[in-house]
Symmetry: C2
Subunit: 200 residues, 2 copies
DNA sequence: TGTACCATGTAATTGGTTACATGATTAC
DNA sequence: GTAATCATGTAACCAATTACATGGTACA
């Protein structure tokens, strides 16, 4: 089974969805750290069904094309549950902007500053969207965001990764931009203090 | 030109390297956010040479097989310099652990806690390695880590991304593990305060 | 009349990983 | 001997993106 299959099962475990619905969840990022196009999703759904992990029923709609609505089978839920607690293979994150940073010493400083300022802005915006979602979840869930056996908790946990990721990204972009502009004397925070702060 | 080509040019812009040297840099992560195997590197080097962006000379070694040492051409440096300040395509980060978190409500809490504790440990270790590298760079560079026109600065900037990334990862893993174990009442930091802190 | 959204699929291409293949030298 | 490192390549396979393809409804 490939990761995409588990991503789909994970979504279907929370609600019944059509291929089209899945596509939208995946475009907007499943719990913000996975994505897939419809050309990947439809064949994968077919494979999952052959393997007996999902089933579908055709929902007839007037005013709209008919659709196939998928749900997990008990077998599908079982293998999803097992997969969740297995350690994932070590992931080498790839980030083109960090690669650009690695060669930034060659670049025109003004253009470089603009690049990292623009990226800072993008990630600030993403951070704001995540914060809105967080507020919405906290209010809407009725406290379930902190109950680990609730799907609300799981979505909230994934969202928190996004919040931390973007917060760090913004901080880093700002540091790089400041540095190439010559306005940066020390790591962010603690300006004057002795800076003792033990090594680890 | 694909990203791998720029990754190679970025390394060769700092020092002459053989395909084997490049492979090692890439295994250990170029500035920690790109990677590639030797089966990708050798063909890509050949393409770069056909395009006139790198050249090689054969270095004869006794005690070791001969090797081809590559360097960038002026043309190669030029297109690298241009690429650096172009905005990268929006990257959708993929992280299998976050996907697992999204379905963690289905899992056995003890197994889930173990998973996230183990991951926390791994990322703590990576963080420690980065911190050692940081110290080494700061001492070895003679202050050049803060001079944007120095290759030291570029490597240092990439490293700082790694530091922030791992710091956030550790924090997140700990929060998830604490939560599934039932020891977590509030977002990290500020325990009692009113929590006013404006929306943005 | 044309754009946007709903809905589902297949085909071609690219990028990346794993496996295959060879061969020399050094250290245990 | 045999494992480890140096050194360079090709071939097969897989995952993912982009492009091709179809067809209905809503709305401006």
């Amino acid at each position: 089974m490939k990761t995409l299959g588990y991503a789909i099962l994970g979504l279907l475990a929370q609600e019944e969805l059509s291929g089209y619905d899945l596509m939208q969840r995946m475009k907007g990022r499943v719990g913000n750290f996975w994505s897939a196009g419809h050309s990947q999703i439809y064949p994968e759904l077919a494979r999952l069904e052959v393997d007996g992990l999902v089933t579908h029923s055709v929902v007839k709609q007037q005013e709209r094309p008919d659709k196939k609505v998928y749900e997990t089978t008990p077998e599908g839920l079982k293998i999803l549950r097992e997969w969740v607690t297995e350690p994932p293979p070590a992931n080498a994150p790839k980030d083109e902007l960090v690669l650009k940073a690695y060669s930034v010493w060659l670049a025109d400083p003004e253009k470089a500053a603009k690049l990292f300022r623009d990226e800072e802005t993008k990630h600030k915006e993403q951070l704001s969207r995540y914060k809105e979602t967080r507020s919405w979840m906290e209010h809407e869930s009725g406290g379930d965001v902190l109950r680990p056996e609730s799907p609300w908790f799981a979505g909230y946990a994934a969202l928190r990764r996004g919040l931390i990721y973007e917060k760090g990204y913004v901080e880093w972009c700002r540091w790089v931009a400041d540095s190439v502009e010559g306005k940066q004397d020390d790591p962010p925070k603690r300006k004057k203090k002795k800076g003792k702060k033990k090594g680890e």
